[in-house]
């Protein structure tokens, strides 16, 4: 029986497994991840107050619970195991590693203190172990650069008040931190006019429900003649006449960022240009939401360069790329599903032409690495997080990697009430 390893347990890896099993339910599929928890950005990107979107994880759980897919956690491609070793152990290897590095703001002052990437900030709020230690710097006045859906997630979390997080899994330590910073003024800027901005209109409609926020719009006139555009209409409907507001949110369109200035290594203002106009906004922090790059650029560039069919994700017979790692940092969860179905069809065709000896599969991995975790390990983490949950929240996520690993291995002392601070 051919053995398939999918590296990366995010949506694209899970959808690839699902699509392969739909074509042949006898396939042996293992999904590997560097973390002891599955689901990638569903757990660590999708906003904590969008639990409905995170619920797609229930669908992926079936792979492991009913469809015989094996989850192998705590295995990092390139560290724990090389690509060559994986290819030797499996007939088919699919890399679905995502793109987790924030694209840097390549401008003077872009590396000042107080400048953070939206990926890092949203990972922090989602309790990703990589970001557990770093509290993002916020302050009273926050400037968000970029106007895609990720920027809108950041804006909404900053503008919400504690009661608005009811039913979320945003840990109270994050709301304490945001409230403690006293965020009161948020400017969100993009290069495009509103009708060409990247956010989905529903993201703006969702903001309109926050009764303590006063909105202002700068540059909506650039969208003259596009009043029927759903983005423009949603913006125009934002409440601007709010007598008592704790937060001011200003959308600014058509502004290109030029430079950041700072004092003592910390950002204190951001400067933008729109034709002949210059805009300087004094601020305590800047959050950039301008896209993502690979955290392992060398490997990705090399694979894409020699790919037989980069669009579908075929490097050669036996090695494939999926999801954001393949197509770049664009596209929603359902986009990965459609792409995974096309890829699975191609993999099945290639499988038919495979020759050679039976491969060892996970047995080779597990023999060499006793610290790997499994799906039952994730279920232990899941149970501990649900048990530790506080009022108004649906889960208390564990951010510390050592604690996660201890829970996964079943050796956590008092694992029913885990320590969540790292």
């Amino acid at each position: 029986m051919p053995k398939i390893a999918i590296v990366g347990a995010g949506p694209s890896g899970c959808y690839a497994a699902q699509a392969l099993l739909k074509l042949d339910k006898t396939l042996e599929v293992d999904i590997l991840d560097r973390l002891p928890v599955p689901y990638g950005l569903v757990r660590y990107g999708v906003a904590p107050d969008h639990q409905g979107t995170k619920a797609v994880a229930r669908q992926f759980a079936r792979l492991f619970e009913r469809q015989g897919v094996r989850f192998i956690g705590n295995v990092t491609l390139g560290e724990t195991v090389t690509l060559d070793a994986l290819r030797a152990a499996y007939d088919i290897v699919v890399l679905a590693l995502g793109l987790s590095k924030d694209r840097p703001l390549d401008l003077p002052g872009g590396d000042l203190g107080g400048v953070s990437g939206a990926g890092a900030v949203t990972r922090h709020w989602n309790d990703h172990p990589d970001e557990a230690g770093q509290l993002p710097h916020l302050g009273n006045r926050v400037v968000i650069v970029g106007q895609g859906n990720v920027a809108m997630d950041v804006l909404r979390i900053l503008a919400k008040q504690e009661p608005d997080f009811d039913g979320s899994d945003l840990h109270p330590r994050h709301t304490d931190h945001i409230t403690g910073a006293g965020v009161a003024q948020i400017d969100i800027l993009g290069r495009s006019p509103a009708h060409l901005a990247k956010f989905d209109p529903v993201m703006v409609k969702e903001l309109a429900k926050l009764e303590h926020v006063r909105f202002a719009l700068d540059g909506l006139e650039l969208s003259e003649g596009h009043e029927d555009d759903p983005r423009v209409a949603a913006l125009a409907a934002l409440p601007q006449d709010v007598p008592v507001a704790s937060h001011e949110v200003t959308f600014r369109f058509g502004w290109t960022p030029e430079r950041l200035s700072g004092t003592e290594g910390h950002v204190d203002a951001a400067f933008f240009r729109r034709g002949d106009e210059e805009l300087g906004l004094s601020c305590d922090s800047v959050i950039t939401a301008i896209g993502f790059d690979s955290h392992i650029p060398g490997l990705r560039d090399d694979l894409l360069a020699r790919a037989e069919d980069a669009e579908t994700g075929v490097v050669d017979k036996g090695l494939y790329l999926a999801g954001w790692f393949c197509r770049g940092p664009r596209g929603t969860i359902p986009d990965n599903r459609a792409a995974a179905q096309a890829l699975a069809t191609r993999i099945m065709a290639d499988l038919g032409t495979l020759t050679g000896a039976e491969k060892p599969g996970h047995a080779a991995l597990i023999a060499a690495h006793p610290d790997l975790t499994d799906y039952d390990g994730w279920l232990r983490i899941d149970a501990a997080e649900l048990a530790a949950c506080t009022d108004g929240r649906v889960r208390a996520k564990v951010a510390d990697l050592e604690t996660l690993l201890a829970l996964a291995s079943g050796r956590a002392p008092g694992s029913a009430t885990p320590e969540t601070e790292g």
């Binding site: 797609v56 669908q59 529903v202 969702e206 359902p334 599903r337």
Partner: protein, 153 residues
Amino acid sequence: MKIKLLYGTETGNAEMLCEDIEAHLEGDHEVEMANLADTDPADLAADTFHLVVCSTYGDGDLPASAQPFGEALEADQPDLSAIHFAIFGLGDSSYETYNQGSEKLAALLATYGAHQVGDRVIHDAMGGDMAEDLALPWADARIAQAADLFAET
């Protein structure tokens, strides 16, 4: 009575739910399942009870896999007066357009004469219920309601 499960989906939840319903009904009934994306309005048959499961996307729109079917209905304007269906919706109550996809699809089928059996039941992705806990009783109840209709013909 033949049963056909039809799903309209974007992230796959409706498809998974139909698989659950299929497994639940199999043995007692003759069941087939299809994606609305692969279904033509002319495929709907008078001797078949259609159980439709459909989510909502965008801003209260039909999910991607149901859109071509919706467009085909509007383009072909078929006579569906011999067709019976029941509908189950998937949605998320944090959207103002909560579960409008299934509502639109039901309205569209009715526009061309199809008969809806029983009320629409909806699932909320933000709520605590598992979709199958609502959908399996829905399927059983609607099949019981439809039994008489199909016995008469």
